[in-house]
Symmetry: C2
Subunit: 213 residues, 2 copies
């Protein structure tokens, strides 16, 4: 679903967005930022954001589409994460590891990658940690977790380990630009890191007892 533009029903004035529209859009973004930061993604409703912003919920949907798209707008995510997440939904569980690494590299190495790096730096350097946490935990990781959860293992630690591996790959490849990782081709990284991600998701991940001397 593509977010609807604010000028879908009312023609935009030649000099840009009408002040009233622009004001409402900004108010919604500001309210959403506070709600998402304080309550996370799941517990934030479009209705609550609309109330905080003093607008009708329909206007929130009108400007931003789904709640996930509203979140993406708040963190200024340069691509719709839904595209990558859908590719992950479609793949059989034994191929999740390689698919995840390949899908993320595809986005990071694309023209949209620069925007993602800028976002990561802003989030880490600035004060948007709560938003980063909500994005990773409730949007990205939860989507993978439901694929691997069993009655014995809810998979929370497993997807956390994947986040620890992949966030470090983003950091070293795109932010710090560490030579051997920055210039490694995607196939090499899929071959080396894919099996790690697969092990974290479905393999033997050891136990504290086994690791003690």
């Amino acid at each position: 679903m593509t977010p609807k533009k604010g000028n879908a029903e009312q023609p935009r004035a030649r000099t840009g967005r009408r002040p009233g529209q622009s004001g409402a859009r900004e108010k919604i973004l500001r309210a959403a930022r506070i709600r998402f930061s304080e309550q996370g993604f799941d517990k934030t409703s479009i209705r609550a954001v609309a109330t905080d912003a003093g607008v009708d919920p329909a206007l929130v949907h009108h400007y931003f589409g789904t709640k996930q798209q509203l979140f993406a707008a708040v963190v200024e995510f340069p691509v719709d994460p839904e595209t990558t997440l859908r590719a992950i939904d479609a793949v059989p569980v034994p191929q999740l590891g390689e698919t995840l690494v390949r899908a993320l590299l595809l986005v990071w190495d694309s023209p949209a990658g620069a925007g993602i790096v800028a976002m990561a730096r802003r989030i880490i350097g600035g004060g948007e940690i709560a938003l980063a946490r909500a994005f990773l935990l409730e949007i990205v990781m939860e989507r993978v977790r439901v694929r691997i959860a069993t009655p014995e293992d809810d998979g929370r630690l497993r997807v956390g380990l994947v986040a620890a591996q992949m966030s470090g790959l983003l950091l070293t490849r795109k932010v710090i630009q560490l030579d051997p990782i920055e210039h490694a081709d995607a196939d090499t990284l899929v071959a080396t890191i894919g099996p790690t991600v697969q092990r974290y998701l479905t393999g033997e991940i050891g136990s504290p007892a086994a690791a003690s001397p």
Copy 2:
């Protein structure tokens, strides 16, 4: 070796560091920051830093100790990385994976951890990427690389993969504070991530051909 204090020979004035001393110290730090950023760690000499700062090389050693300690002062590293690196030197290669994970967790989870997190956020969010790269590549990773390099494999990609894993663990555990990783006990992380680091260092890390469909 502990860095010598600036007041080792001349008693400090009761109101604080003497203006002349403080000025030289700041000049050295400023010159070192520029050299390390532009030329990396290896190619920067104490002599060149001293020349840039307009002081005698002996004064650089006097204030900061070794070149590595000067670097640690430039990036405001809260602990002497040498302590951790020496623990890594001492361990047999087949135990490097677990040892690395345990040694880094020990520092990050210690009272000095807050300073390391602050440094990581400052480096990533700000413009100190070149310093972060020099620190990782030339100080930390090089020290591990010489342990695992063989005539067939210089180990550069291998230590890069370890950096990608461990920087992501720091990011998720201490910076983003992602629930399952933030609260996992050290033993669990050593048991789950140790084998990954060991595989990256000495195991089968796959090849692009093997990963292609």
